[in-house]
């Protein structure tokens, strides 16, 4: 182990962190040489509570793993159960699910970027994004009836139907926020202050990203061309999904990947609203006994559920693997090597968009 001068603890409550986490930075002068991450502040034991419960109860626990990407957890859990019991869902339900998921991703990416800009103390731009995000939450409320915890998917379809007027309203909101987001993305791409704080900071090469292995927008910021949505039949059949990536591998590339994905989301939402088919939204379905593993692209990367059920539809065993675990590993191992000062370490931390509630469950 290398010798170091001083160990600086950040957290568990720190102005730059959204969530409780303790990071001990090892420094030599101003240079950060390593870090230790101390976890366990939001461990609630969700998997333990889920065991031996009927799936109808467990699904509400699944979406409360994380409030930011609640719909991803809900969707992955439900799709795992559908994989176990061979359930086909109606066409309209597929569209509605994708719509809810992309709205959720849109809000999550905007939130991630605004947290980064709050971390580098650029409050004006962060507030602009926060305003746009409110409009996206309005869309979620129109579609699913709630702002944060959506509870939208069930085995066999979705919970509520929607009306053409709601879809029209969502389209209107999308039309309203797209030019604004384009303008902000332009600012973020070319703003000299943001460039100074983020360019070349926290560099991670493609090889390192694959070794770590980083996932989601963090890996795509380093040039990894993979997205789980490419493997999802609905995304491929309905939306003809193509991933976006950047080659630079620094903090700036990571937030620009999120911006690029925001525009992809907007394109998909527009397509889904305009081509929504008619028909039923939910089919009768029963959860059989069996086990399955299913992976989905959550806003932060791969989200994997392993579920085993018994013949009464109860959860016998469940394991959740969330994207923040590998990303945090990549942060400590590779990104911190390119952190000139301690203030930059905070920026890099914000750029990987960690979700501690997901991580510890």
């Amino acid at each position: 182990m290398k010798a170091y001068d001083l160990s600086i603890p950040l957290g568990p409550m720190h102005p730059a962190f959204k969530e409780p986490l303790r990071v001990k930075l090892k420094t030599e002068g101003e240079v950060v040489v390593g870090a230790e991450v101390d976890l366990g502040y939001v461990h609630r034991g969700i998997e333990k509570i889920m065991r031996r419960r009927p799936w109808q109860k467990a699904v509400f626990l699944a979406e409360r793993v994380c409030g930011i990407c609640s719909n991803s957890h809900n969707l992955t859990f439900i799709e795992t159960l559908e994989k176990i019991s061979d359930v086909e869902i109606p066409e309209r339900a597929k569209y509605l699910r994708l719509l809810a998921q992309e709205l959720n991703r849109l809000h999550s990416h905007i939130l991630a970027n605004l947290a980064l800009f709050l971390a580098i103390e650029h409050e004006t731009l962060a507030m602009m994004l926060l305003n746009v995000r409110e409009r996206v939450l309005d869309c979620q409320e129109l579609l699913c009836g709630n702002r944060v915890i959506l509870s939208y998917n069930v085995v066999g379809g979705v919970r509520f139907d929607t009306t053409p007027s709601i879809l029209k309203e969502i389209l209107a909101v999308i039309d309203e926020i797209e030019p604004k987001l384009r303008r902000y993305a332009e600012m973020f791409e070319h703003g000299p202050l943001l460039r100074m704080r983020t360019e070349g900071i926290g560099y991670m090469s493609k090889r390192e990203a694959e070794l770590a292995p980083a996932v989601g927008p963090i890996a795509r910021g380093s040039g990894v061309r993979f997205d789980w949505r490419m493997k999802h039949p609905d995304y491929v059949d309905i939306l003809d999904f193509k991933p976006v990536w950047r080659e630079e591998g620094d903090a700036r590339a990571r937030y620009m990947v999120r911006f690029d994905e925001i525009f992809e989301c907007i394109k998909m939402i527009r397509y889904l609203c305009e081509n929504m088919p008619k028909g039923e939204i939910r089919r009768r379905a029963e959860v059989k006994s069996g086990e399955a593993v299913h992976t989905q692209e959550a806003p932060r990367g791969d989200l994997t559920y392993f579920v085993r059920t018994d013949s009464f539809g109860r959860i016998e065993d469940i394991t959740i693997r969330t994207p923040t675990i590998p990303n945090l590993g990549a942060f400590v191992k590779y990104m911190l090597r390119n952190s000139p000062t301690i203030a930059d370490a905070v920026v890099i931390y914000a750029s990987i968009d960690p979700c501690i509630a997901c991580l510890e469950r």
Partner: protein, 148 residues
Amino acid sequence: MIGKLKNLVRRKSFHVCLLNVGSCNGCDIEVLACLAPRYDIEQYGIYVHNNPREADVILVTGAVTDQWVEKIKEIYAKVPEPKAVIAIGSCALSGHMFAEGCTHPPVSRHIPVAVEVPGCPPRPQEILDAILSVAPVVFKDYDEKGGG
């Protein structure tokens, strides 16, 4: 006279600290949403940050997890007088669905709570309303209570 003026001013300007003791982030992002220009928490003179040593009011979200049982009391002790605690969300009130896990709800078992805001998560307007309702009570006789 000076004291009265001080009280009047302080009632309209106070610092709020957000403390996450094992929430799902849902309540935290609704507190964050209060910062948005739509709700504009700062027009009421409320400043949100994460530093308990400068805070007047602490917003607590989440069911108290194992690690927080001792720390929540330490942090409460760090906050200067006069202080008030607002518990936000069903988790902080009753443990919600995490009550059977590795948690020790409710928050009021560990530190005194002034206002409770139910909901999963509560809307930003409700959070704002709770903060505003606690302000006049806490800062009424600021000087007599040991502030300065």
